[in-house]
């Protein structure tokens, strides 16, 4: 029995190798899924960062900037309740887009490979192997996509900030808030990606091989 376990349980190194190979072969699809994740995360991070900047205008902006903004009528507009509810909406929409976009992309990319999962089970692949394979794949895509998305989102937010508030944009967002935003976005991106992939992969791995191969998605 022990011998059997040694034979069949694949080391993580091998799973990673297969996952990597699979992604390289499916380069275009991997790229599409990853960029979908990146896009969703860029939007989320951008909204969170620029909201953060506006919220800090009253406290952290210099008097000159406040006066300039007040002169242009921007300050009042930015801090009005109407604007605030609008930004809350934007944040909600950003969250929804990230959630729907990422989960949908992962669901499709896994369910279209149900037959492959069934075949792998026929050839002696363990349920845990299949789950590990998709875990590795989605972790990679999630991490890369989220990182790219966050970088793009933050850069865009600062570009917009520079445009609106000049060089003071860099002081507006406290470092703690920025780190908080980064952590939240990163965790949200990776967790959503992994869950979106693991749920269908797990359910397919649990099926009898025939059912997995027969299911048309």
């Amino acid at each position: 029995m022990r011998e059997m376990e040694q034979i069949i349980i694949l080391p993580y190194r091998k799973v990673l190798q297969i996952a990597w190979q699979g992604m390289r072969i499916r380069l275009l699809k991997t790229f599409l899924v990853t960029s979908c994740i990146a896009l969703a995360l860029a939007f989320l991070t951008f909204i969170m960062c620029s909201n953060g900047m506006v919220e800090q205008l009253g406290e952290r902006a210099s008097e000159q900037l406040q006066q300039r903004l007040a002169r242009e009528g921007l300050l009042e507009q930015l801090l009005s309740t109407e604007q605030r509810s609008q930004t809350a909406w934007m944040l909600g929409i950003a969250l929804m887009i990230s959630f729907a976009g990422i989960v949908n992309a992962m669901l499709i990319s896994v369910t279209e490979r149900f037959r492959e999962i069934g075949t792998m089970k026929c050839l002696g692949g363990l349920d845990s192997f299949i789950v590990k394979l998709y875990l590795a794949e989605s972790l990679f895509q999630g991490t890369v996509g989220t990182t790219i998305g966050i970088v793009v989102g933050v850069v865009l937010a600062y570009v917009e900030g520079l445009n609106r508030f000049g060089s003071e944009a860099f002081q507006l967002l406290p470092i703690v808030t920025l780190v908080q935003i980064l952590v939240i976005s990163f965790v949200a991106g990776v967790v959503l990606t992994v869950l979106g992939a693991l749920y269908p992969a797990w359910s397919a791995a649990k099926m009898e091989p025939v059912d997995a191969m027969r299911s048309e998605v």
Binding site: M4, I7, I8, L10, G124, V210
Partner: protein, 293 residues
């Protein structure tokens, strides 16, 4: 205990799986009542008896019911089916006769609602998913009507996949995969992907993949279903050749009459039960009139 010893003596072919399985029924069957014990003994006796035969696949009173909404479809109605080691058996029958269902049962791809299926004298129902995977990996090679190759991988990678599950060394697996592909006549298409190959070539890759881990049984579900008659014949003959040279048992669900000329035995399935068996000699005349080539 005495029974167990006896069992061991008569089964020199026992492997790790079989050895483990002996312990399994203890968990599954309550040994409280006396009649339960005698029942167990009876079963053990029967099993010991059956072990003397060389059945590599044995289905006993297998039932399978599919639920479609409120309707229940009784696909298999108590099938008894035995296949000897090294045989080439064709499972024939009209669509809806339960052919594919029985095929999936004896391949360990699906579980029966009632009855037992033994592969190499191991009760499939008693296996954990873990052991089942081991069995599929090492004992059985599958060939499907729709080929079911991994579309993005090369022929070589496809053939290497089962060996990877068996944890064969990379270089060793590669050598063997190339050798197998050569054997099925695809030595020059090792790095081609399924989309770059014809149906017949894809099925050859599938045959090579089925043989990767030196299985005891090759199960082919309508292997010629998606092929023209000439290519289909080539695949059938390839299977026959493997059956002869490697001593692999081949079981094939089919309604391709070309299969009849090469197989040792035919099991006719009608309406969820085996209607009759026929050996090749009995079918020689019939085959001539139906093949039409």
């Amino acid at each position: 205990m005495a029974k167990k010893k006896k069992k061991k003596k008569v089964s020199p072919v026992k492997n790790q799986v079989a050895e483990h399985v002996e312990q399994v029924p203890l968990e599954h069957e309550p040994s409280v009542a006396d009649d339960a014990i005698s029942e167990q003994e009876k079963i053990a006796e029967e099993e010991a008896e059956d072990l003397l035969a060389t059945n590599i696949v044995r289905a006993k009173d297998v039932h399978k019911i599919f639920k479609m909404g409120d309707e229940e479809v009784h696909a298999l109605k108590g099938v008894d089916f035995k296949v000897n080691r090294g045989e080439y058996v064709a499972l024939m029958g009209p669509s809806g006769s339960g052919k594919s269902t029985l095929f999936n049962m004896i391949g360990g791809l699906d579980k029966p609602n009632a009855g037992r299926v033994f592969i190499d004298e191991v009760d499939i129902a008693a296996l954990s998913t873990f052991e089942l995977a081991w069995l599929r990996c090492h004992k059985i090679g599958y060939i499907f009507q729709t080929f079911n190759l991994i579309p993005v991988a090369t022929a070589l990678d496809n053939v290497m996949l089962p060996m990877l599950f068996a944890d064969v060394q990379q270089s060793e697996a590669q050598d063997k995969a190339v050798e197998l592909l050569r054997k099925v006549g695809l030595g020059e298409r090792v790095f081609h992907k399924p989309v770059q190959m014809s149906g017949g070539q894809q099925q050859r890759v599938a045959v090579a993949r089925a043989l990767a881990n030196d299985p005891a049984i090759v199960l082919a579900d309508e292997p010629t279903g998606n092929l023209d008659s000439v290519t289909g014949r080539q695949i059938i003959e390839l299977l026959r050749e493997i059956n002869k040279t490697e001593g692999v048992t081949v079981i094939s669900a089919t309604h391709d009459y070309k299969m009849l000329t090469v197989c040792d035995r035919i099991a006719w399935l009608t309406d969820g039960a085996i209607e009759r068996y026929a050996s090749r000699d009995e079918l020689e005349i019939k085959e001539g009139s139906t093949d039409g080539e």
